[in-house]
Amino acid sequence: MKSAVVQLPGLNRDRDMVDALTKISGHAPVTVWQTQTEIPDVDLIVIPGGFSYGDYLRCGAIAARMPVMDAIRRKAEQGVKVLGVCNGFQILVEAGLLPGALMRNTSLRFVCKEVLLEVVNADTAFTRTYTEREVIRCPVAHHDGNYFVDEETFKSMEDNRQIVFRYAAGTNPNGSLSDIAGVINARGNVLGMMPHPENLIEAAHGGTDGRGIFASALDAVAA
């Protein structure tokens, strides 16, 4: 149940993520700085949200080229689970570990609110504590969450069940294609999602719907 949280200049939900992982697993994750070329032996690597390098170029574009990403890529190839949330999702897409692109919200504004997510695929290492088509609450906070992917890739993703979360019941906050909120790679060990499950894990957050993602990823390892 060992986990690691990646730290890059400009990421700002790293503390939230460390806190969530600690509370759910009972163990504090190790933190990994952007220049590290080796990642310690862990079962889950998390790239948290924020504005890496200010997002002054395309979101995540600079972060995706830092040394730590090569180490993450190698771990992913070995089957280690990798979760990217918000800016972390954008970084995984920029690094080529996930298909598609994240464009500016159609409103052209930053949006922070609670949305509903439909668990489209509950048969992944990150969602097995949920049931298929279960609708969960989850907050979002982003400026660039408008997911896009070409038609051909979209079709193969649907066929492979790579779409894991969709915004439910008219709550799509950013105009993303087919209401996509989270996607997984073909191998099933790299998940990227725009919403912030780490901000809905305890009573003080007003709910615990986000716990399942971490519980799934960490329990699966223990199993």
Partner: protein, 735 residues
């Protein structure tokens, strides 16, 4: 090739620096010669209203600033207040009015950046932000553009930096058509033994420059912010700084790491008047001289003059006095975060502020007179003419109470601000217990199992205009009340005093009256002012803003599981009004929105009642007897009830039995010191009895239930219709 620093000093040049002839004479007397161009710039930067508080200082001294929990009052980067267990909260509010009107996105963004820096300069990690924003009339051609830019700027900076925005205000009034107000608040957490101050100590120690490089942006910003606007305003755009929240976030992390090493003797952020102000303040406070060598200053533009470097307001910069043996360790931290770290000078024992550039001395000035002994004025002032009292019987009743209430909840100043706060990250850090939309924002204290802090920002400018003294009192009382409505104990406040041109006796009269009112209320409520900011000259072509002394306060909740919220009421709960019946319609929202009048004296604030009622409410909440609580303010009892039903998504049936006085005053009157509480039915008699025995006036209003707000046979509106009216105005306005 040398960069020229010598420019002839002419009366025109002196005037263009905002220095009055008598102030220039004072400079000549002080240094016994004509100042150099760089020196003139330094004097202009230090002696302008924004940095020197020369018109306001005399009156600010009258405010209560001490209390058993106050660790640091005004005079440092922010106030520091004890919240038990060795924890402290560090907070301040500051204006960025002038720049936000000229360039709304960057003006607002750098306002947020500046206040965050004030907080983390003191060693605190920012945990909450608020913004009090005031714009011109909705139909003024500039208003939409300004709202859009300011909100995006506030969000753009705060979201990227990573601080939750948990509260604030957005108001419209035509008196802000030419001068909007952007007042930014930030609070941070620190340990009592981990506070850093700006007072330099020790002679011959290195003065270190930290953070971003110096450019030409913002040169003369503080001087610009100390003058009125006219048609030439567009030309002032280059005086507005450009924000870089990414660098600020890196600077935060680097500074907090640095502070842990023990390397920091004194630290000061570079805000208004940049390098000049930070260096002079550190030296003057420590009774030391400072020598700066500008050839060592990290710059991002070529051939900058000494004048430009000294007056640049480039953002995300700090100055510190370093323990020399820690230099390597300190530098490594800044290299890791990709920030500049340069020794640019040293402390001296001669009380001079000396600036070297290209080997030449371009300034040599007495540091005390620049800093804490700057000029001070006792400006002539005239007692403000107060609006005469207006009896409720002289105010027309509405023809249709349903229509009047729907109009109020959907009016520009009472409509939901969701469009605004959904652009702010309100949940980052995972500690936000109450987000915008309630009485106060509430944030958990990280690392403590039960403690939380409540934050609120308040002022009712139309009251201050009608009676500065009562309006000043009311701003403090409402802030105290909003904090109390969560169950928190109000601890201390920061003030952001926004007024017109202080050289006009009538404006100075508003300022003096408001300060006297604030002072009286703070004393009566044990709510000291621990930090603050004054913004004067908010005038365009001779028209001043409404006098707007914003008060932002902090309260402590020992156990957040016993906190109250606005909308947590249950079917069957009894609704009780704590406080007197409404009777006062002067300067009310009803008068303005329904009858189109701004007449009448504002409601008087009985501070003893305020305190007694608030203490009673806090006792109820902490005793677990309250399911929901809301303060009664603008719009009176019926608007408070409407806001509670909208937040809960539940209706209520109200009966006004044993009515005394006119009905519209009972429903819309804005009398102070009042709350509405929802009490579980089995506790309602007990709460009534304890109010009676404590001699607290109260009125049993009715019951929570259904999906309509009903008041006898006067009013009957579906809650969903209230919500629609309340939520639709802002998006429609901004569409």
């Amino acid at each position: 090739m040398n960069i020229p620093n010598s420019i002839a000093i002419t009366p025109e040049l002196v005037a263009a620096h905002g220095l009055k002839p008598d102030e220039y004479q004072r400079i000549l007397g002080l240094i016994g010669r004509e100042p150099t161009f760089t020196e003139l710039g330094i004097f202009s930067a230090m002696w302008n209203e924004h940095c020197s508080y020369k018109s306001s200082k005399r009156w600010l001294r009258t405010l209560p600033t001490q209390g058993p929990r106050v660790i640091q009052g005004p005079g440092e980067n922010a106030g520091v207040v004890d919240i038990d267990d060795g924890d402290v909260v560090v907070f301040k509010m500051e204006s960025h009015n002038h720049p936000s009107y000229i360039e709304p996105y960057q003006g607002a963004a750098t306002g947020v950046g500046g206040i965050l820096r004030d907080v983390f300069t003191m060693g605190a990690r920012p945990i909450a932000a608020m913004n009090a924003l005031r714009f011109g009339a909705p139909d003024h051609p500039k208003t939409k553009h300004l709202v859009s830019g300011v909100v995006a700027g506030v969000g753009g900076y705060g979201n990227s930096f990573g601080v939750p925005t948990v509260g604030g205000e957005v108001e419209f009034d035509e008196r802000y058509n030419g001068n909007i107000l952007v007042n930014a608040f930030a609070a941070g957490l620190a340990k009592a033994d981990g506070i850093f101050l700006s007072q330099a100590k020790g002679v011959g120690l290195p003065v270190v420059y930290l953070g971003a490089k110096t450019g030409r942006d913002g040169v003369g910003g503080a001087t610009m912010a100390s003058a009125e606007f006219d048609e030439s305003i567009e030309e002032k755009r280059p005086t507005v700084q450009v924000g870089d929240p990414f660098t600020e976030k890196c600077l935060l992390e680097a500074c907090l790491e640095l502070m842990k090493t023990g390397a920091v003797i004194a630290i000061q952020d570079m805000g208004a008047a940049g390098l000049t102000c930070s260096a002079v303040e550190m030296g003057a406070k420590g009774d030391l001289g400072i020598e700066l060598d500008l050839d060592k200053v990290p710059v991002r533009e070529e051939r900058m003059t000494a004048y430009e470097m000294m007056l640049s307001e480039s953002q995300e910069r700090m100055l510190m006095v370093l323990r020399p043996e820690k230099e390597d360790e300190a530098k490594a931290i800044f290299v890791k975060w990709g920030l500049d770290f340069a020794i640019v000078g040293k402390t001296t024992d001669d009380l001079r502020f000396r600036v070297l550039h290209q080997g030449e001395e371009v300034a040599n000035l007495p540091i005390k007179e620049l800093g804490d002994e700057a000029p001070e004025y006792d400006r002539p002032w005239m007692e403000s003419k107060k609006h005469p009292a207006l009896l409720a019987s002289e105010v027309a009743e509405p023809d249709d109470y349903n229509a009047a209430l729907l109009r109020l909840v959907g009016s520009p100043n009472q409509a939901s601000r969701r469009w605004v706060w959904e652009q702010y990250d309100t949940i980052i850090q995972g500690n936000s217990l109450q987000r915008p939309g309630g009485d106060a924002g509430v944030v958990r204290v990280d690392g403590h199992p039960t403690k939380a802090l409540a934050f609120s920002s308040d002022v009712t400018p139309r009251y201050v205009e009608a009676d500065p003294f009562e309006g000043g009192k009311q701003a403090v009382a409402e802030c105290w009340r909003n904090i109390t409505a969560t169950g928190a104990e109000p601890l201390a406040a920061t003030d952001n005093l926004n007024f017109g041109n202080p050289e006009k006796p009538e404006i100075m009269g508003q300022f003096v009256g408001a300060i006297q009112g604030i002072g009286e209320a703070c004393k009566a409520l044990d709510f000291p002012i621990v930090s603050g900011n004054v913004s004067l000259y908010n005038e365009t072509n001779g028209v001043a803003i409404l006098p707007t002394p914003t008060i932002a306060g902090v309260g402590l909740i020992p156990d957040w599981s016993k906190m109250a919220r606005i909308g947590d009421m249950n079917d069957g709960d009894e609704l009780i009004l704590i406080g007197m019946d409404g009777s006062h319609l002067g300067s009310s929202i009803y008068l303005r929105e329904v009858l189109g009048s701004t007449e009448g004296a504002p409601p008087p604030v009985d501070l003893q009642a305020e305190r007694r009622h608030g203490d009673f409410i806090r006792g109820l909440i902490r005793g677990g007897q309250v399911s929901a609580c809301h303060d009664v303010s603008s719009g009176g009892l019926v608007l408070a009830l409407a806001e509670m039903t909208m937040a809960a998504g539940k209706g209520a049936s109200i009966t006004l039995s044993e009515q005394r006085g006119p009905t519209h005053a009972l429903l819309f009157g804005e009398d102070q010191a009042r709350y509405v509480v929802a009490i579980p039915r089995d506790l309602a008699n007990f709460v009534g009895a304890s109010a009676e025995s404590s001699r607290i006036p109260f009125r049993r209003l009715g019951t929570v239930g259904g999906d309509r707000l009903v008041v006898d046979d006067l009013l009957d509106v579906a809650v969903v219709d209230l919500v629609n009216a309340n939520e639709s105005w802002f998006p429609a306005f901004m569409a």
